[in-house]
């Protein structure tokens, strides 16, 4: 398989890169100075693209690679891949579901606790020596708070299961109601926000869910409400969220994703009611290896004409 050209969209994992290098002819797209020249030179040899949450395969790239057979994403999210185009051209698409579900759900709960219990702020407080001057600052209880989840897929369900152990009543909004769960369904995100204390975004990013958390939803969540985003930055109208946080119209936010990563609105840096993470939802040593193995496994299966492990298309 060494002659098969694989285009890696951006740096994502040294182990994955190494393994792709061993098995295929790997092209590192981010190292290419002149992308259009490169694409016309190699258009006949590139048969696979490996993308992730930051870069995938848009219509332009797909059109430039007539021999493209498969796009394997090092993520569960597919928002960087033009799925319609892939379907049209018979290009297979795979992602990395399940292996990262637990890590993302763990991080969601970790963010909730970090925001409500001011853990990061407390840690800064101790490190700066302020504790010696004393204070009885109270933080917000988590147990029993109402948790509202947007998107009750694998990750949403895993978050619900964990939050239930903290005696949190769970409610949700999703495209379709899921009567098999015992959670309360709300037909709109605004209603969900109005009826929960902590709103968690756990759905996939599509045209419909872009800015699903907008000014109306933020207002409904209110001054005591907390927003947690472990989905995608564009799920939230970021300028609206930033002004709501700065003006204290919303209680706080725990954000692992942003609209223009790695740029994070600087107004957030001075706030004590936010926790800001650099997109580490699936960022554990164990899980990233599992994700990489899944990408490699899917590519291998495809080129050996075996069934794909985790096909989307």
């Amino acid at each position: 398989m060494e002659s098969i050209g694989v285009l890696m969209a951006c740096p994502m994992n040294p182990y994955l890169e190494q393994e792709l290098d061993k098995r295929f002819t790997l092209h590192r797209f981010w190292k290419v100075p002149e992308k259009s020249t490169f694409l016309s030179t190699h258009s006949n040899s590139i048969r696979a693209v490996v993308g992730n949450a930051f870069a995938g395969a848009d219509a332009q790239l797909i059109e430039a690679l007539p021999k493209l057979e498969i796009v394997a994403s090092f993520s569960v999210g597919l928002d960087k891949i033009d799925l319609a185009k892939c379907k049209e051209k018979g290009i297979r698409v795979t992602n990395t579901p399940d292996v990262l579900t637990e890590d993302v759900a763990d991080l969601a709960i970790g963010l909730i606790l970090a925001v409500l219990r001011n853990l990061c702020e407390c840690d800064r407080y101790v490190r700066s020596g302020k504790w010696k001057k004393g204070s009885y600052m109270l933080t917000t209880k988590f147990t029993g708070k109402r948790v509202g989840i947007i998107g009750l897929g694998r990750i949403g369900m895993a978050i619900a299961k964990r939050a239930e152990a903290f005696s949190c009543p769970i409610s949700y909004h999703s495209r379709t109601e899921k009567p098999e769960t015992k959670y309360k369904y709300y037909p709109s995100v605004v209603e969900l926000a109005a009826n929960c204390d902590i709103l968690v975004i756990a759905c996939s990013l599509t045209e419909e869910t872009r800015h699903i958390v907008n000014r109306k939803v933020i207002d409904a969540l209110g001054a005591e409400g907390v927003l947690i985003n472990i989905g995608r930055g564009p799920h939230v109208d970021e300028p609206e969220l930033v002004s709501a946080l700065v003006e204290r119209r919303i209680g706080g936010a725990g954000l692992d994703v942003f609209e223009h990563e790695p740029e994070v609105p600087e107004e957030l840096f001075g706030l004590d009611n936010v926790v800001l993470l650099p997109h580490v939802g699936s960022g554990t040593v164990e899980t990233r290896k599992d994700m990489a193995d899944l990408v490699l496994g899917n590519l291998e299966a495809h080129f050996l004409k075996k069934p794909l492990l985790t096909p989307v298309i």
């Binding site: 740096p11 637990e102 890590d103 763990d106 991080l107 709960i109 970790g110 963010l111 606790l113 970090a114 219990r117 001011n118 853990l119 990061c120 407390c122 840690d123 800064r124 407080y125 101790v126 490190r127 504790w131 010696k132 004393g134 204070s135 009885y136 600052m137 109270l138 933080t139 917000t140 209880k141 988590f142 147990t143 029993g144 299961k161 964990r162 239930e164 152990a165 903290f166 005696s167 990563e261 790695p262 740029e263 994070v264 600087e266 840096f269 926790v275 800001l276 993470l277 650099p278 580490v280 960022g283 554990t284 040593v285 164990e286 899980t287 990233r288």
Partner: protein, 341 residues
């Protein structure tokens, strides 16, 4: 009016209500003083007097039957001797290591604490600290706030939370109600897929997890040690160098109990030399002093003894303390007495 001694002012207001001695105000009282206004008792506020404590007690506390204490105002044998009429000590905290239980037991003094209302918050804090240290939440937050993400790209990974877990639960002789406190941690961690094991002085038949009679053995078989037992003579420095080395280079300690359960000097050495993987600490041996080597480490999370500091927890604790005091003065059963096992 203002120049009169505290107890004279209060007598004028409340006639002959029995007094509850408070040597120094616990945080609960400072924050929610209104909740301590009762028709069944009044507070005798030693800290408002200019007299030294011993003299104040000798002069004014001779007929005091109840004491509201806290970590800042311990009930030692010396204090007990200055209170010839004391029959009940209530603490506004979960911990009871600042009360000389042997002396209380010897003299038939009843003791009550507020552990039951703090279990959820303490468990939430323990889990939050655990996820933070494993997934490097506080470190990553600092990284982003310093504007380092664009320049430095991917942040170094954390470790998975779903791992074999060791929950340390040594029971001290007086308190079986803190089981609720510990099971709160275990219940939450089970939802993350953690395997819970425990250590205690004796196995508890009602606890569904594997029991280890020896802390060292337990540390050998575990990835994380969550300390949530009481501080007693037996548990002081129970987590020593041997236990920490057994926990190992990937091992994590979470402490929301009392700083002195861990040999802090040894822990600092182990952390600095990578003999254990990390620690998340809400308590320290000499609060508010924190060993300065810890302040430089990225594999620790440090919080200033706030595991139970929520308004809901505090208000529930106020209600519980007041209810205990009122029950005492009405000769009714206490709501949260410590029971000798």
């Amino acid at each position: 009016m203002e120049s009169q001694l505290p107890q004279e002012r209060s007598k004028l207001r409340t006639k002959d209500l029995p007094q509850v001695l408070v040597m120094k105000p616990p945080p609960l009282l400072t924050l929610f003083e209104d909740k301590f206004i009762s028709t069944k008792f009044q507070l005798l506020k030693a800290w408002e007097s200019t007299l030294p404590l011993d003299q104040f007690l000798t002069t004014y506390a001779g007929s005091v039957r109840a004491v509201l204490c806290s970590g800042a105002s311990p009930v030692t044998p010396h204090i007990i001797r200055l209170l010839p009429s004391v029959q009940f000590v209530v603490t506004a905290s979960a911990g009871i290591n600042h009360i000389d239980l042997n002396e209380c037991r010897r003299l038939g003094i009843a003791v009550a604490n507020a552990a039951a209302v703090f279990s959820d918050d303490a468990a939430d804090a323990a889990v939050g600290l655990l996820i933070d240290v494993l997934r490097k939440i506080s470190v990553a937050d600092r990284f982003v706030r310093r504007g380092l993400w664009p320049a430095m790209g991917d942040y170094p990974f954390g470790s998975k939370v779903i791992i074999s877990l060791f929950v340390c639960f040594t029971q001290e002789s007086w308190d079986c109600r803190t089981w609720k406190h510990r099971s709160a941690v275990a219940k939450r961690l089970e939802a993350f897929g953690c395997t819970v094991l425990y250590n205690s002085r004796k196995p508890k038949p009602w606890v569904p997890y594997p029991f280890y009679s020896n802390v060292h053995e337990l540390a050998c078989g575990s990835d994380v040690l969550v300390v949530c037992c009481g501080l007693t003579a037996e548990t002081r420095h129970m987590i020593n160098r041997e236990v920490m080395v057994a926990l190992g280079k990937q091992g994590i300690i979470v402490n929301v109990a009392r700083g002195a359960i861990i040999d802090e000097k040894e822990m600092v050495v182990c952390l600095v030399h990578g003999e254990i993987g990390g620690a998340a600490l809400d308590v320290f041996e000499n609060e508010p002093d924190v060993p300065k080597q810890l302040l430089q480490l990225d594999n620790v999370v440090l919080t200033p003894h706030r595991a139970v500091f929520t308004p809901e927890g505090f208000m529930a604790a106020c209600d519980l303390v007041v209810a205990n005091l009122e029950a005492f003065f009405e000769d009714k059963p206490l709501l949260s007495p410590l029971i000798d096992e």
